[in-house]
């Protein structure tokens, strides 16, 4: 079953055609990587999935029936799509535990709820779920630290915890290892693989690092100059001459 279907998406910024007739189909339970050289339109495409950009034409359908076009970011999240950013977006002034309790409450109580009389720390259901998630990602010992003071790797881990605690059906990852050392990158790959196996969440990954892409992806779409030029398994993509052309100007990968 396909969880995300993109058909004929076009997006232009003034005279610049950022996306040209993009078609994409993401199977449930797989890791689908979108790769491509700088300026290929990867981030533009991702932004069309999450309500930050509205495509000029075309459709983005989630879970078979829900059209994501025209929905606001928070509405798209509530349908079951979470997003990890290139630079971790967390609540820097709040504690780690609060950072994870907020998405937990958002999933349970919806986009707005006026609970101003009960205490946050008395909400055992939310607290336990958040703590459990922090333990899973190895952040439980830091739960009372202000999130802004974490190291970059931990911030990314926290952001991942914030997304995972919502039990998303689809997780979008924008360069999850950007700016990381080789060791951190490998840790992140292990973490993402483990999460994939345990939870069966479908993931769409945008990535520059071929090492990451080939370790994680079940299927790869190659984007160049706003169109999908190749699609297939990592093995097929590695050998595809069009990909080598787009990436390396003809040199062999």
């Amino acid at each position: 079953m396909e969880i995300l279907k993109v058909e004929g998406v076009n997006k232009a910024f003034g005279g610049l055609k950022a996306l040209h007739d993009v078609n994409l189909s993401v199977e449930a339970g797989t890791v689908h990587a979108i790769i491509g050289p700088n300026g290929a339109g990867k981030s533009t495409l991702l932004n069309c999935f999450v309500g930050r950009l509205i495509p000029d034409t075309g459709s983005v359908t989630f879970n078979g029936t829900t059209s994501l076009i025209g929905l606001k970011a928070h509405e798209i999240n509530q349908t079951g799509v979470s997003r990890v950013f290139q630079t971790p977006e967390i609540f820097g002034e709040l504690t780690i535990l609060e950072n994870v309790m907020i998405p937990t409450m958002a999933r349970r109580d919806g986009e707005f709820s006026l609970q101003f009389w009960r205490r946050l720390d008395a909400d055992a259901e939310v607290r336990d779920k958040a703590l459990h998630m922090l333990e899973d990602l190895g952040l439980a010992s830091k739960k009372d630290i202000i999130a802004g003071s974490l190291s970059r790797g931990d911030k990314r881990r926290l952001e991942l915890a914030m997304c995972l605690v919502q039990d998303p059906k689809l997780l979008l990852l924008d360069e999850p290892t950007a700016g990381m050392s080789r060791a951190d990158t490998n840790n992140t790959i292990d973490l993402l693989q483990r999460i994939g196996e345990e939870r069966g969440i479908t993931k769409v990954v945008i990535e520059h690092d071929m090492h990451v892409v080939f370790s994680l992806a079940d299927k790869i779409s190659v984007l160049a100059q706003g169109t999908v030029i190749a699609e297939g398994t990592p093995q097929a993509i590695k050998g595809d001459p069009r990909v080598q052309e787009a990436y390396l100007g003809g040199a062999h990968l």
Binding site: I90, E98, F112, Q115, S149
Partner: protein, 377 residues
């Protein structure tokens, strides 16, 4: 910073706070601040600043038009007296409802923008309200003269005895001026503090801090920041409206100058002086500013000459004339200097100073702990 406020600790703070407010007439006597008019102002402006801080302290949205809600509350309360009688409770209730509605209107438009644009929009709305109160709304506000209760007003629930009596607000036969007036206002300050404390610790309050911290993440977490900011804007407006009503309950006269931008600026000063985002700070700030206003503006040259009479005659003249600039009409100068000193030395306001002193007193063990939780990189 990382200490978790437990329910027990919050209860203790609340009980101590309530006791301190109710005993103000005793412990403020030595500094000459224990007279009813000033005590009423402490309570009323403390309430005003507490409400303002719910918006500014939690969400970071700096409203420069909160005096408009104070004014709306005042006018509504006086109309409550005129129509329903001199009982302060319906007047206060009416003021909370009207100012809440008014805040919903202004907030609905202003909250489309954030940062400086939000501040300017609220400022514009407040100035508009002020000018309208002076001009076209004169039938409702009585313009320059100010709105007051007249013997000829309907006051339908007032008994025959009351309608002939003096035109002051009365609850159970007690006139709401002097100390009874103060205790009436103090009750609302304590209630307002309790509600603010609950909001600070609640899921709602946490969402408001999330608004301040990262609206982008909030959106991508499935939360809509708009209803959160609008809700707290309305709550904050209701606090201001209640404060405005209390001003009229203790002195039944409402004038448009209450809505002027200087009054909006004053509550910003109170909050920053005391400590933005703290529960007690804004109330302390309000108290200090009102104290300075009353004490220093009462000083005149004669009193100064008495104070500096120990100096030799040649010095006394210049010292008196220089310090004279800082008192009486010039008390704002003193306030300005105090404000600058606090903001430069203690960016977190007086509450930051209090925090520093307590951690110094508690000594080294805690200091070590703080170092451990310092940034990892």
């Amino acid at each position: 910073m990382t200490s978790n406020p437990t329910p027990t600790r919050d209860l203790a703070v609340f009980v101590i706070f309530a006791a301190a407010v109710l005993t103000m007439p005793i412990w403020l006597a030595p500094i000459g601040a224990a007279y009813p008019d000033l005590l009423q102002k402490f309570a009323i402006y403390g309430l005003f600043a507490t409400g303002f801080n719910l918006l500014f302290g939690l969400t970071g949205y700096l409203s420069f038009g909160h005096a408009a809600f104070l004014g709306v509350g005042s006018y509504t309360a006086v109309w409550g007296f005129k129509l329903l009688g001199m009982n302060p409770v319906p007047a206060a209730a009416m003021a909370i409802v009207t100012s809440g509605l008014f805040a919903w209107l202004i907030g609905y438009v202003s909250l489309r923008r954030s940062g400086i644009y939000f501040s300017i929009l609220t400022l514009a709305f407040a100035q508009m309200s002020y000018n309208l109160a002076y001009s076209v709304l004169t039938p409702i506000t009585n313009g320059e003269t100010g709105l007051r209760v007249l013997q000829s007003d309907p006051r339908i629930f007032d008994t025959a005895a009351q309608s002939g009596g003096p035109l002051v607000s009365t609850l159970f036969g007690i006139e709401m001026s002097g100390y009874p007036g103060f205790y009436f206002c103090a009750t609302f300050l304590i209630l307002g503090f309790l509600v603010a404390q609950r909001i600070f610790r609640s899921p709602f309050g946490t969402m408001l801090r999330a608004v301040k911290s990262n609206q982008n993440r909030m959106n991508y977490t499935g939360l809509n920041p708009r209803p959160y900011t609008l809700a707290v804007f309305v709550i904050s407006g209701m606090y201001a409206g209640l404060a405005g009503a209390l001003l009229c309950i203790t002195d039944p006269l409402a004038g448009a100058e209450r809505m002027q931008w200087t009054a909006s600026g004053e509550v910003v000063l109170m909050t920053i002086l005391g400590g933005v985002g703290t529960l007690l700070g804004p109330i302390l700030g309000a108290g200090i500013i009102k104290y300075f206003e009353n004490i220093f503006s009462a000083f005149n040259e004669h009193i100064l000459q008495d104070i500096f009479s120990f100096l030799p005659e040649a010095l006394q003249g210049p010292v008196v004339s220089i310090s004279g600039l800082f008192v009486g009409e010039g008390w704002h100068l003193t306030l300005g200097v105090l404000f600058m000193i606090i903001v430069i030395l203690l960016p977190g306001g007086i509450m930051e100073g209090v925090g520093r002193i307590t951690s110094m007193v508690k000594g080294g063990s805690r200091k070590k702990h703080q170092h451990q939780t310092a940034p990892a990189e």
